[in-house]
């Protein structure tokens, strides 16, 4: 077994175990941290596939951003996992069937029949100065420019939806208006008054 294969089995083993832990541990924060571990090991697997840019972006976006939001939510909401687990045994058979079907279909679709080495020969290993990012960029902003622009519209919808769902302004809140503070002049605030002195008697 080559060193790469050892790494592959190591990372996939950790990935499967931590994915199992996500749904079995009692504490939701622990579950979220195991999900983080899942993403990190997935990123390592993608790296083994030489998808450098995507692997690092997975860490940047999912570990660095999405899971932070998850943790915020999980820490703040009192999720009672014990109650959620009550139906576990009852739904186990049907859940198991669905999961087995999904795994079976995926195995058929991306397994040996369609993606075996006789159908797709193994790509040669890339040279040390190969730039995955550059290759991706050359495709994304020219050939795939329409999907790219649509992505911006999707993000715009996400912004609007996030604000519509979570923004609650409390009435009567007073803000500091920094722009007004900056443009204020001495004459707006200060009035110098000349007073007649009373004079000595």
């Amino acid at each position: 077994m080559s060193f790469e294969q050892i790494l592959f089995y190591l990372f996939s083993g950790v990935l499967v175990l931590s994915a199992g832990a996500v749904i079995t541990v009692r504490n939701p924060v622990h579950a979220a941290m195991f999900l983080v571990l899942c993403f990190v090991t997935t990123s390592a697997l993608w790296l083994l596939l030489e998808a450098e840019f995507l692997a690092i972006t997975l860490v940047l976006v999912y570990v660095g951003a999405v899971m932070v939001l998850f943790l915020f939510v999980v820490m703040m909401l009192d999720i009672n996992l014990a109650r959620m687990r009550e139906g576990f045994a009852r739904y186990l058979p049907i859940g198991g069937i669905v999961a087995a079907t999904a795994v079976g279909i995926m195995g058929l679709a991306v397994g040996r029949i369609n993606f075996g080495l006789d159908v797709w020969p193994a790509p040669p290993a890339r040279a040390a100065d190969y730039s995955n990012t550059r290759e991706l960029g050359e495709q994304l902003y020219t050939t795939y420019v329409y999907p790219f622009e649509i992505a911006s519209v999707v993000l715009l919808v996400a912004i609007v939806a996030a604000i519509a769902l979570t923004l609650r302004t409390r009435p009567g809140t007073r803000y500091q208006k920094i722009e007004e503070q900056v443009v204020v002049k001495k004459s707006d605030r200060l009035r110098v008054v000349q007073l007649e002195s009373e004079g000595r008697k």
Partner: protein, 118 residues
């Protein structure tokens, strides 16, 4: 390409070992004399009234969601910045349009007061 990542893997491993090792050293060398007062969480001399893990302002969620969106935007900008010289004016205008659409969202946030911290 992969051989360049081997030192990183080892480095991350060593980083974990150094962090964990320091704490282990502290455990081995330091005293252990717990008492019930010492183990209470820091308060102003009272017992804590309620659980410390409280609910807090929904605004933090909003910041986190907006952060995800902008982080994705940055992820799109990275490969673009690298190949800008190769894709020329067409690529530049494609990104101007992309950013333009997102700036509309940004202005919307601003006007709605989503960026205003109370």
């Amino acid at each position: 390409m992969l051989e360049n990542y081997l030192p990183i893997l080892i480095f991350i491993g060593i980083g974990l070992v150094v962090g964990g090792g320091m704490i282990a050293a502290g455990f081995l060398l330091g005293p252990h004399k717990p008492d019930s007062e010492k183990l209470t969480s820091y308060e102003c001399g009272f017992d804590a009234f309620e659980d410390a893990r409280m609910k807090f302002d929904v605004r933090y969620y909003l910041v986190a969601i907006l952060f995800i969106i902008f982080d994705l935007e940055i992820a799109f900008l990275f490969p673009w910045a690298v190949v800008l010289r190769d894709i020329g004016m067409f690529g530049f205008l494609a990104m101007v349009m992309f950013l333009g659409i997102l700036v509309i969202g940004f202005i919307y946030e601003w006007k709605k007061g989503a960026l205003q911290w109370e």
